[in-house]
């Protein structure tokens, strides 16, 4: 299997893009990545998206987007794995290069959510769950997180304020982030004073809704030059129903995907210099940190509250704002994370730069932890 390098990164600003449709967001990101790589050569396109079939009534994105950038003729397809679409699609793009089947692969996540009615967007996000038995109850994805949150605080005595600090840290790290939707600090007081979204989770503990496109160009790694390579990419699944979860305070898929990735990359959590965690809710971020081995089970909230995940901390996390502050255009999020890790390792992170970053990890989560994709990137 060939080693795979990141040849280019292109990210749009996350926000409410009233004058941009799916194709426009896609093209901006894709062309930025190609320009960044200094090439126009692409032989395969992998599009990551979750909501287009419902919110835009649009399928067949592979062919649509290849055409949009004047590349009709190449291999193109769309991959979906709920909010883990980005990491999972990247996994497939890597395989195309590693296997030798393709030599220049564009992986692009794109999502347009802000012009949907809020209740439609919530229903669309709930499509990650069993429609007949889970979504049927009217529970939302934040609601599912809340069911785990209550078990978590009961079992470990974690403080609500400590869990909420995950959002505070994400916002701190978003300052200076050129593409973040909310690049400003958010205080713990404002978060705890915000209305309940699904008790006991406050609204400002949850990632918002936004539009965005994020692209990465993959090529075989050239020994002669230096850059960023894919050290590992792994995808694991976990229980699809809350009622079938082994325990309600862990995501088995996160543990499995990260263990496989650490093994493939020959690293342990200690070796990770920069980390992108799926903080769709604060509690999902805390539990993910623990299941990836960055904090002991039950101690994740305290780990974050103590300052370990700040830009200068032991485990710089969500260095451009994460899902909460950079934003969470569902199908694009995983590619934002991977692009951001690449920028950190290349020393191109500007105001958000973490010093001497050699190894980075991006974690993408779908459903209630029923799909997890973990990507490890490394300087070479």
């Amino acid at each position: 299997m060939r080693r795979v390098a990141i040849a280019g990164v292109g990210l749009t600003k996350v926000g409410e893009h009233w004058s941009m449709g799916l194709k426009d967001l896609f093209a901006e990101a894709a062309l930025k990545a190609l320009d960044d790589a200094g090439t126009d050569d692409v032989d395969a396109l992998y599009v990551s998206n979750m909501c287009a079939s419902t919110l835009q009534g649009q399928l067949h994105l592979g062919a649509m987007m290849a055409d949009a950038i004047g590349k009709s003729g190449i291999t193109a397809l769309n991959i979906e794995a709920a909010a883990a679409s980005g990491g999972v699609t990247f996994h497939e793009g890597v395989k195309a290069i590693a296997s030798g089947l393709s030599k220049s692969v564009l992986v692009v996540g794109v999502e347009k959510m802000s012009d949907g009615l809020p209740e439609s967007v919530l229903a669309t996000q709930s499509m990650s769950e069993d429609q007949e038995y889970t979504a049927y109850t009217g529970v939302t994805n934040v609601g599912l997180s809340a069911l785990m949150y209550r078990q978590y605080t009961e079992k470990f005595g974690a403080k609500a304020e400590d869990i909420a600090m995950f959002a505070v840290r994400s916002h701190e790290n978003a300052e200076g982030s050129p593409h973040a939707q909310y690049p400003f600090k958010l205080s713990i007081d404002r978060i705890m004073a915000s209305p309940m979204e699904a008790d006991p989770i406050h609204m400002l503990e949850c990632a918002g809704i936004g539009d965005g496109g994020a692209a990465v160009l993959l090529r075989p790694a050239k020994r002669a030059s230096d850059g960023v390579e894919v050290a590992a990419t792994s995808v694991a699944t976990g229980a699809y129903y809350l009622s079938g979860m082994r325990d309600l305070v862990s995501f088995d898929a996160v543990r499995l995907a990260s263990e496989r990735a650490y093994k493939a990359a020959g690293i342990s959590p200690r070796d990770v210099d920069v980390l992108e965690v799926h903080d769709e809710t604060t509690i999902a971020g805390v539990i993910s940190l623990e299941d990836m081995g960055f904090a002991e089970k039950g101690r994740g909230a305290a780990y974050v509250a103590k300052g370990n995940t700040t830009r200068g901390g032991e485990t710089p996390t969500n260095t451009f704002g994460g899902l909460k502050a950079r934003g969470h255009p569902l199908g694009a999020t995983g590619l934002y994370q991977i692009g951001e890790v690449a920028l950190q390792l290349l020393g191109e992170a500007g105001a958000c730069q973490v010093q001497d970053a050699e190894v980075g990890l991006a974690q993408s989560l779908g459903g209630l932890g029923s799909t997890c994709a973990v990507t490890v990137l490394r300087r070479f």
């Binding site: 209740e119 049927y136 009217g138 934040v142 069911l147 209550r150 979204e197």
Partner: protein
């Protein structure tokens, strides 16, 4: 069937023992609340009953089910609370107005 695990919803293959021989059984109609939340921002079709409680319920026979808990104020719901199944309106199907009924749980009336 093999390992005796109870599944709801039913599944083609047991995720505990990998067995393919499944037997249909009647679930227990009562149980206790394991964990719960109050939904304040509902998905499309559920706004009529907002805010509403969704809980993970462990039935007396060991099976677990996710369902709404009704006939009680959200702030009165407690862990371990005894609840029983009830036939209730679940949602309305948009403009056509077809009303879907199904199961919800309510506090056991002692």
């Amino acid at each position: 069937m093999g390992c005796g695990a109870i599944h709801f919803p039913r599944r083609p293959v047991c995720n505990v023992c990998g067995g393919r021989k499944m037997e249909e059984c009647k679930l227990g109609e009562a149980g206790r609340v394991v964990t719960w939340t109050t939904i304040r921002n509902p998905p499309a079709g559920y706004d009529a009953s907002t805010p509403y409680v969704v809980a993970l319920i462990e039935l007396d026979d060991g099976g677990r089910v996710l369902s709404q808990v009704v006939d009680v104020a959200p702030e009165e719901v407690k862990g371990g609370m005894r609840v029983e199944a009830a036939f209730r309106r679940v949602k309305e199907d948009g403009e056509s107005g077809i009303i879907e009924y199904g199961y919800k749980f309510r506090p056991v009336i002692e």
